[in-house]
Structure formats: structure tokens, C-alpha cells
Subunit: 289 residues, 3 copies
Amino acid sequence: MSRTARILAAVRESAPLVHCLTATVSMELVADLLLAAGARPTMTWTEREAPATTGLADALLVNLGTLSEEGRAGMLATLPVAVERGLPWVLDPAAIGPAPSRVALARELLTLRPDVVRCNASELLVLTGDGTGGRGADATQAPEQALAAAARLTREHGCVVAVSGPVDHLTDGERVVRLANGTPMLSRVTGTGCALGALTAACCAADLALGARRGPGWALEAAVAATSWLALAGERAERRSRGPGSFRAALLDEVFGLDEPALAGERRSEKRCVDDAPGAHGVAGGQEW
Amino acid sequence: MSRTARILAAVRESAPLVHCLTATVSMELVADLLLAAGARPTMTWTEREAPATTGLADALLVNLGTLSEEGRAGMLATLPVAVERGLPWVLDPAAIGPAPSRVALARELLTLRPDVVRCNASELLVLTGDGTGGRGADATQAPEQALAAAARLTREHGCVVAVSGPVDHLTDGERVVRLANGTPMLSRVTGTGCALGALTAACCAADLALGARRGPGWALEAAVAATSWLALAGERAERRSRGPGSFRAALLDEVFGLDEPALAGERRSEKRCVDDAPGAHGVAGGQEW
Amino acid sequence: MSRTARILAAVRESAPLVHCLTATVSMELVADLLLAAGARPTMTWTEREAPATTGLADALLVNLGTLSEEGRAGMLATLPVAVERGLPWVLDPAAIGPAPSRVALARELLTLRPDVVRCNASELLVLTGDGTGGRGADATQAPEQALAAAARLTREHGCVVAVSGPVDHLTDGERVVRLANGTPMLSRVTGTGCALGALTAACCAADLALGARRGPGWALEAAVAATSWLALAGERAERRSRGPGSFRAALLDEVFGLDEPALAGERRSEKRCVDDAPGAHGVAGGQEW
């Protein structure tokens, strides 16, 4: 069984509790996707409640989408508690760019060393000071254009960087994993990126339950598992839907039902070292993950 | 026609307006479930607006999930107005436990005498000081373990207590109703418990429209009606869905469509007195409700 | 090809970015409907972030539903920026009536000259001082009863008024368009009115991209396009759904898929001058739009 398949099974078995400080617009999808995957959400965000609530959690998601003032204060109060407890956590700098205050907050949170930064290429380039942002929640750059920035971020902060796009790119600074699954329909439903951040946090918790040891770049397998899970479910959902409404329901069904044979047979991934020429050490199939 | 069937019909006919001070994460499902049932929602929560808006309402839901600071202030300003107007109201102490401030708020609201407290067993045991809480929104105890606490709460506050679980238990302190319908899939969709609280408030308003007289424990029939409605709709929805995404849509369809023959034929319930040995006065079927 | 069909095509081609300051309860549906239509949403509302974020937008929606304090402050800070930039914008005075502060805010925003006011008849009559409001988000008057108020509003503020109801009425003060499409099922899903406001904003942006010139009443065609789009999608969705849950998913699918032949063949509309006797200059079919 692949590493990804073991992580999926561990999410379903251990039902990690993921505390989500996340965008209001997609809060329901984030919670529902965690539930479909077998994890459990808590979603409270205030300074008054979130630090105490995170004390029960197995992982934390911090997503900057539709950021309220209460949510901002809650993040700044909760993250130090989570870090002190050693919780794995995922930073999603959603839609950073136009509002300078959000860019500054994302960079401040980065110093608290997230295990994974999940974003699109335009968001990443804002974070590293190499761009001004995309168009709302949409990237105007491809992951390939952000790989150098991703590598720099991983080295400076010890995090994994997972860049979503037509081909997802994930890196720990030494290895780059390219995943060619997914469907454009995922960008026709609000919050699928936010939900992927939450699923990544759940997979981090599950991988720790399987015995993974934390250290720089340790979360690459968890991030690959989450990204593969959502992308493959998306492909299957698209085949049985007629548009974005039925697709959204089918996506949750497929996340719920995705099994090991589907993962093994349908994943289109490639792993190589950061400095390799493209394709030089490409590995077909995803069995090794 | 059973009492439950009459209450359902009255919800559809009178379309009670239910003002919901409720969790952000499940606000949409709460509103959509009320609409599917034939009731109408209003959802505004601020101190500036909620007290005036509740002036139009036929019933009130107060749910403590994902509690914002504005929402907290709005509850404290709105409830006295609702109580003064004699509105029936339901308290849902969602996910109390980890945050001490939420526990304190729930206990403070309890003194305003809700007609129904709807919760799971772990939440109930926190409310009565007999436990420390569940796991996020999930119970770690069964309703059976919380029956003594429920009976105490009903006697002290005159409320009905509706405890959700694999077998739902509802009590007015003298009678206990056990409902064995439902499906685990209901816990794979965020907010189904919140939505049940809102539906309970709608059924309270409808029962008053049918001529029910308020007094200690008066709302037991309304709470049984709401719980049966959602549980039976859940069973039917599960039979025609492939996972939690299609289940959520089907649940709303089945709440919309559930009819009197389904209620009469599919309900598995039992009523007995609090002090009876289990099963001693058990009543098969649900026709009498 | 009709004007409406050209506007739909332009939404899909230009993917206008619509900044939505909108009700929390329906934020997800608003975003998902824009995505289904081919537009893109941004949803952030705070004074700290919204004025900067609106700088990228092609149109703005301001909806007063479930109005938070942060949202209120954000509207007052953002609208002057949007107006200064010349963004087309839509005002949706959702559920005004019971809370005097919301009525006052709606009237204040009106002075910033929205291109379209989208509402139901009861909301319109509150806005113009001719009524006290509906029942929650529901109208208790028909659009026909509010036509004189609508005409007055258009003359005073230069806006188009789009009044939703069993037969939608839209007017620029000189022409009145009556649209007899739609289904009562649209009022069984929370937020479909909010989503129509957002779609109207998207259609305004698209019509400008097609070369429309702004001036008093210029947005009538855009408002007719959005209203027709949603109403026809609703009719088609109802034919393939079993209740409000499956209807909501199907609605998004049909907004995504609605094509020019459907628009041309299924629209039931009539246009006449404001002072005409009903039906005097009625035009069957909607080809001219």
C-alpha cells in the first residue's frame, strides 16, 4: 500500500480533529470536506474561544480568506498556543495581494513556522515578495513560474510548499512532486482550495499518528496525500455531474468513497530532485508515494 | 393523524418565522432546512438589529456554535426581548466544553428558561456540571448516560431536554421518549444538529398555533415531532445517496417531502415514565405521538 | 442574438470580478452562482481590507442581509472608493423593515447612486417610505403594487429598479419589463435573491465590456439579462429535482449550462412604457432583449 493510501486510511481510522481558522465564505465546505474525509472540524475563531478550543485539536488550519477583525485577533492569540502544543499547522494565504494588511499578516504568521504553506502561484509570489497577486482568489501565474520562490520559502522556513494549479507542484526544497490530476471544475466551486488546506492539516495529523517524525520538510507526504485525494475525487466527481452544483455534492461523495485501488490506478504524478532537468528522474505512476 | 403529523402540517400551513442566532458555519443549512420544512428564517444577530428583527418572529433559536463577539452581544440583547414577548425558544449549547466562557454563557441563558434544550450527551453533561465536554461538536457519551442529568435539568428549569445520539432521548422530566430512527450519515454533514434545533423551534411555534398551552414540559411533542422529522428524512435520504454530498441535498428534499404515511409507518419510538424499568411500558410504533 | 444572450456570453468570456459585500447566510451561494455563471467573486468585507480589494473589481454588490457591524463599517468605507473608480454597483436592501438602522443605511447608500436596486416589493416600499416591510426576507406585496414607488425611485436616483416576485418587474422609469419565468422553488433556497443581485452586478460589468454607455437607466438590459438567466435556470432546475436540496444543486448546473436557444425559446417577457395601459404595447417573446 502506498504512503498516500496509508495516510488516507489513518485519517479515516483516527478521525483527527482539525481546528480551522478560516474564510467565512467557504466555512461550510471546509467542515463538510473534513467530515467526508473522516476527520472532524472545529471552527470557532475568536480570541475568547479559539485558544482554548485548539487545545483539543490534532492539527490547525489558518486560512486568510474573507478575514474578519475578530478572526485576525483570534489567529494571533491562537497560533502561539498551537505552536507551544506542537500542533502541525497549515498556512493558506488566501487571496493575498490587494490588501497590504493581509500580506503583512501572512508574513508574520510565516515566522511561526507552518508545516505546510498551501496556496496558488500568485499568492506564493506575493508572500515571497516576487509578485503583486492574482485576480481575487484566482492565480494569474502557473505553479511552474513560482518554483524558485517555493524552494526559497522552504529553505528559509522549513515548510513544505504546496502550489495548486493545472499541475500541482509540491516541494520540500529537495524534492518536487508534480501531480497532474484534477479538473478545472474545482475552480468553479468556492472554497475547494480552502478545503484542500484543511485536508492537508488532517493528513499531517494522520501521518504523525502513523509515526512520522517532524523536521524540515517532513510534511511532504501528507501534502501529497491530501492533494491527490482531492484531485482524484474531483476527476471522479466531474464524470458523474452536470455542472458545478452537482459537482460540489459529488466531490464530497468521492472524497468519502475514494479507495486504494483508485489512488493506485488513477494518480498521475512525478517526483524529481529540485536541480534535475525536467523529466530526468521522472517516475510514472504514484505507487511509491 | 398523530400529534407529530399534525405539527408537521401546521409548520407547512402557518410557515412560522424562526429567528436564528446561530453558528456561522451552518447558517446556510439551518436556513435551508427551515425553508424545506415550510418555515421561514431570519438570521441577523447584532445587538443593533436582532432585538428589533425578533419582534416579527414566531420562535427563536439560540445556538452557541462558532460564537462571534457580535453574536454573543446580540444574544444577550435579543433574548430578553423575545422572552418579554413570550416567544418559544430553543437553546442549543453547541460544542460547549473547552471554552469556559461558552459554558458560562450557556448557563446564563438557561436562567431565561428555554422551552427546549437540544444538545448531545456530552454537551448536556457540561451544562449540568457533570462532564467536561465531547470532541468538538461530537459527543463522547451516549444519551443513556445523560438521562439523570437531563431529568434534573427539566425539573430545575421547566424545559424539555432533547438529547441527540444513536437513539435520541427526549424528556420533560416525567416522560422519556426514545427515538431509534436516523443514520450516522447525519453526523457527516456539518450543522444537522443546529438545523434540528431550528426545526424544533418551528415545531414549537406550530404547536402553539394548534392550540398547545405553555407550561413546564409543554414542548415535548414539538421536540419529538422535529426529531422524528429529521431522523426519518435522514433515513430516506441515505437510501438514495452515495455519500455525504448527495446526502445533504437529499436530506433537504426528504424534509420537504416527508408525509404522514411515512411518519406513521417508519417511526421507531418508545415512551415511558422516567422511573419505569426500561421497556416496562414501552409502546411500539409512533402513532400516539 | 438577443441583447441578453450577448450579455451572458460576455460574462462567460470576460469573467468579471464582482466584489460582494453581502449577507453571511448566503455568502457561499452568492460566490458559487457567480462562479457557475462564469464570473469571479471576491467577498472580503472589512474596512481594513475591502476598500483595497475592490480596486481589482469590475462591479460591486452591496447586500444588507445579516448585516454585521464590521460589514456595515466596510460598506461605508468601500462604496466611496468604488464610486470614485466608476464601478457599476447593485444595492440589495435585503429584509429591510424591522430594524430602523438598516432602513437608514439603505437610504444613505441610495444617495451614492447605485446602477440597480434589486429587491422585492415589500423592501422597495420600505425604501421609498411607503411600507413597513415584509416577513423576514419574504415580500408580503406583489411587484405590481410597488410599480409607482419604483418609478419614483428611478427618477430620483437614476437607477434601474428590479423587483422580484411571481412576475418580476424591472423599470428604468420609462420602460417596464415584466418577466413571467421562475418557480416558487427559488424561495425555498436561502440566498437566491442575494445571488441574483450579484449576477446583476456581473451582467452590468459584462454590458460595459460590450460597449454600453452609462447614464440614467442604462442598466436595464443587464438587469433583465440577470433576472432572465436565473429564472430560466430555475425552471429547468425544477424539472430535474425532487425538492429544494437537489434544486439548489441543479440551479447552479443550469446557470452554468443555459444557452442561447433556451433563452430565446423559453423566456416569457413583455415590455411596455410606464404610462401605457397594461398589455397595450405588450411584446410576446423576449427576442428583442
